[in-house]
Symmetry: C2
Subunit: 240 residues, 2 copies
C-alpha cells in the first residue's frame, strides 16, 4: 500500500487487515495479545472508536477474543463448522488421497423437480454430471450435480475430473458462492448403488440434497449426494 494510493478503504478495515496479516504470517499466535485499542489508535492515527470498530469486526469474524480489563487475544484456530466447502477443500486438511471419477455428463430437459429447486421452468435444460469419489480404490460417495446448461455450457470434462467444482465456478465463471441449504436423510442402497459402492443391497447410505446459492441469493446448483454411512460422517455445530 503506497502513499500515492488514493486509499478509499475505511480506516477500520485497513486496521483489521493489518492485524489479520499479523495472524496469518504467524507473528501473532493463538493466545497472544493483540495491540490494544489505544495503541492501535496512536499507531494508525485514528480515534479510539475507529480502533474499537476494527477489533469488534475481528471479534465478530471469530479471529480474536476480547476480555474486558485484560485485553484482546488471538482466538484458537477454529474448526470450520457449517462452512460451505467442496469435497476437495474438505479433504485438503486431512491428507487423505481422494480421487474423483466422472461417470457421466449430459444435458437433460426432463428434470422438472430439480429445475423447480433452481427456480427455472420445468423443461429448462440442465447440465447433469455424476462424479464418483474414491478413497484408495474404494468408492464411498456418488454426487450428481445439476447446473443451468446455457450458462455453463463450456464446462469441460477435463476440468471436472481435475479440480474442484467450486474453484472452477468461482475462478472461471466468476460465481460468488453464498450459502447452501441441505436436506439430510438416510436411504438404502438399491441394486445399482450397491454395485457402484461394492456393498450389499439395502446397505445404509447418507443422502444429502443440496441447493447452492450465489451471492444474489439465486439458486444455481443442485447436488444430490449419496455416502456410504460407514465411511462418512457429517459434522454440524448448532448454536442456541
Amino acid at each position: 500500500m503506497s502513499i500515492t494510493d488514493q486509499d478509499t478503504t475505511p480506516a477500520y478495515k485497513r486496521i483489521m487487515s493489518a492485524i489479520q496479516q499479523q495472524i496469518d504470517f504467524g507473528e501473532l499466535k493463538p493466545g497472544h495479545a493483540v495491540t490494544s485499542e489505544r495503541e492501535l489508535a496512536k499507531i494508525h492515527g485514528v480515534s479510539l472508536m475507529t480502533a474499537r470498530h476494527a477489533l469488534a469486526g475481528l471479534e465478530r469474524e471469530g479471529m480474536v477474543e476480547r476480555r474486558r480489563g485484560s485485553g484482546t487475544f488471538v482466538a484458537p484456530p477454529k474448526i470450520h463448522f457449517n462452512k460451505l466447502m467442496s469435497y476437495t477443500e474438505q479433504m485438503a486438511g486431512r491428507s487423505l488421497s481422494v480421487r474423483t471419477r466422472l461417470l457421466s455428463m449430459k444435458v437433460i430437459g426432463d428434470a422438472p423437480e430439480i429445475a423447480a429447486h433452481l427456480l427455472l421452468p420445468s423443461t429448462y435444460r440442465l447440465l447433469r454430471f455424476e462424479r464418483l469419489r474414491l478413497a484408495g480404490n474404494e468408492p464411498f460417495a456418488l454426487e450428481t450435480c445439476y447446473l443451468p446448461a446455457e450458462e455453463f455450457s463450456t464446462l469441460s470434462r477435463d476440468r471436472l475430473e481435475r479440480g474442484s467444482l467450486f474453484s472452477v465456478l468461482e475462478n472461471d465463471y466468476g460465481v460468488k458462492l453464498s450459502h447452501a441449504d441441505e436436506e439430510v436423510d438416510a436411504t438404502a442402497a438399491d441394486p445399482r448403488l450397491a454395485r457402484t459402492f461394492g456393498v450389499p443391497h439395502g446397505f445404509p447410505l447418507l443422502r444429502i440434497r443440496e441447493v447452492i446459492y450465489s451471492a444474489q441469493s439465486r439458486p444455481f446448483l443442485y447436488v444430490l449426494g449419496l455416502y456410504r454411512a460407514d465411511r462418512h460422517t457429517l459434522h454440524i455445530r448448532r448454536f442456541r
Copy 2:
C-alpha cells in the same frame, strides 16, 4: 430484557429491546421501515453513535436489514437454520401433535465412551433415559440421553414426559445452553429398533450423536437419536 431494568442496562441495549418489542408485537412487520438513526437518537436522548450501535446489533442478529441511503427495515422472518432446539421447540412452529413416551430411566456406571464425550471419568455415574417420539400413534424417533447423574439426580419422570428437556434444564437447573456438536450418519434398524419403530429389519435410519455444551463450554449432555428416514429430514444451512 424488560422495561424495569433501565438503570444499569446500556442505552443501546434498551433501544434494541424497544425495537425488538415493536417487531414482536406486530407494530412493525417485515419490510417496514424501522425508526432511523437520527430519530432514535432524538427519541431516546442519546447520540447518533449509540443509536447506530443499537441498529447494528439488531442487524447482526438478523432482525433488520440496513440499506444505505434508504433506511433500516424489518427483515423477513428467518428460518432458524442450525439453531440448537429441543424437539418440542422444533415442533412448536408446525402444528404437529407429537407425543413423548419415556421408555426407561436409570443410573448407569459402565458407559466409558459416553463419559469420555462428557469429559468425565470412565466409570462416572450417568443418568440415562430413553424417549420415544410419536406422531399420531406412530413412533418415528428414539432418543437416548445421558447426563451426569449427581447434578441431575432430582430430574423426575413426570417432568420429562410432560415438557421439553431443554426448558427443564434451563428453567429448573439454570443451565445456560451454548451449542451442540452433531455427528450425523445412517444406519439400519436392528431387530429391536425395527420392532420399536414398526418397520422391517434393515430399514434405513438417520443417526445423530450429539454433545451439548453449556455456556462455559462444558459438555454436559449426550444424546443419541435414531430417526425413521422416511419421516424425518435434517435441514442445514452452510455459509461460504
